[in-house]
């Protein structure tokens, strides 16, 4: 079988699962879940260094950025200015150009502010960033993002951390049909089968954080998501049968005794 790799901004990845590093009980739990998930890309947040506790463990000591691609995010940014500031700093930490842009518009539903997101995408692309963009599941906005220089379209399945699964499969399929850019479901997945569905809809990958980190058994769930993404991709590539209203016997109807 031909190697079926995920390509983002000219980089190739074997795993189609991207995992967030937030909400784990500890750094070591996070690192183990990441390892079990088989992911090659993790999202990370940019925050102030704790200057009063000099011995606080660092994420980089647990997850080696030379082995796993760090995808800095702009979580907590509610306007373009803050998002740009955050990602420029992220780039400065060690030359990170591949970034995840998310500009939120509402503190309770955490939906993206697409006008600010669009503006920011344009600026970042001009500055040489490779931008993976968290967005709503609106095909028109997805098209606009593509025209603004996005490197990956990452529509939400449902609100961040909600665990509701993919609420609008039709929109995801429409976005899939119209774009050749990597399409990654970001946010809102609750269980492994949600990831399979995303892949079966033709997505190139999924991004999961809470569903793994907050599962009762995060390590088991990391494995489940790993397998679910593989299963969904294989299923998509296999070409499913057409749906019919009536039954169609699986055994021959001739020679019945």
């Amino acid at each position: 079988m031909k190697k079926d790799k995920l390509k983002i901004a000219k980089k190739k990845f074997n795993s189609r699962l991207i995992v967030g590093t937030g909400k784990y009980k500890s750094m070591s739990e996070c690192a183990k879940a990441i390892k079990l998930s088989g992911t090659e890309i993790v999202t990370v947040a940019v925050r102030r260094v704790n200057i009063s506790d000099k011995n606080k463990p660092l994420l980089m000591d647990y997850i080696d950025p030379k082995k796993i691609t760090y995808l800095p995010n702009t979580a907590g940014c509610f306007n373009s200015k803050d998002a740009l500031r955050t990602l420029r700093l992220a780039r400065e930490i060690g030359g990170w150009k591949l970034v995840k842009l998310e500009v939120l518009g509402d503190k309770t539903n955490l939906f993206p502010d697409m006008i600010e997101t669009l503006k920011t995408t344009e600026v970042l692309a001009k500055e040489g960033f490779r931008v993976m963009v968290y967005c709503n599941d609106d095909p028109l906005m997805a098209k606009r993002l593509e025209n603004s220089g996005a490197d990956a379209i990452m529509p939400l399945a449902a609100p961040i951390g909600s665990g509701l699964g993919i609420l609008n499969k039709i929109n995801i399929q429409i976005i899939r049909k119209q774009t050749k850019l990597p399409l990654i479901i970001d946010a809102g997945l609750g269980q492994a089968s949600d990831a399979t569905i995303a892949m079966e809809l033709g997505c190139d990958g999924v991004l999961v954080n809470t569903a793994i980190a907050k599962a009762k058994k995060p390590f088991e769930m990391a494995l489940a998501f790993k397998n679910a993404v593989v299963a969904g991709r294989q299923s998509y590539n296999s070409g499913r049968i057409a749906k019919t209203l009536m039954g169609n016997p699986s055994s021959p109807t001739e020679g019945i005794i």
Partner: protein, 69 residues
């Protein structure tokens, strides 16, 4: 030596006037390769921290990567 007040990551710190940014980073035990630094909202080239002298009311932000989704 005269002392001045600056802000580091939102907290007031007292340092010697004209002391260098690199001294501050050393004192705070900052792993320089794993952070980015802003001085008054301008990103600082990490190789040049010993050329920067701290002034009264300077605002410094030192950030790094933590877990996030």
């Amino acid at each position: 030596m005269k002392k001045i007040k600056i802000k580091v990551n939102g907290k007031v710190k007292t340092v010697l006037n004209n002391s260098k940014l690199s001294d501050l980073l050393n004192n705070l035990n900052i792993p320089i390769k794993k952070v980015a630094i802003e001085l008054n909202e301008e990103i600082i080239d990490k190789k040049r921290t010993s050329n920067i002298k701290l002034k009264k009311d300077d605002k410094i932000e030192i950030v790094h990567f933590i877990g996030g989704g």
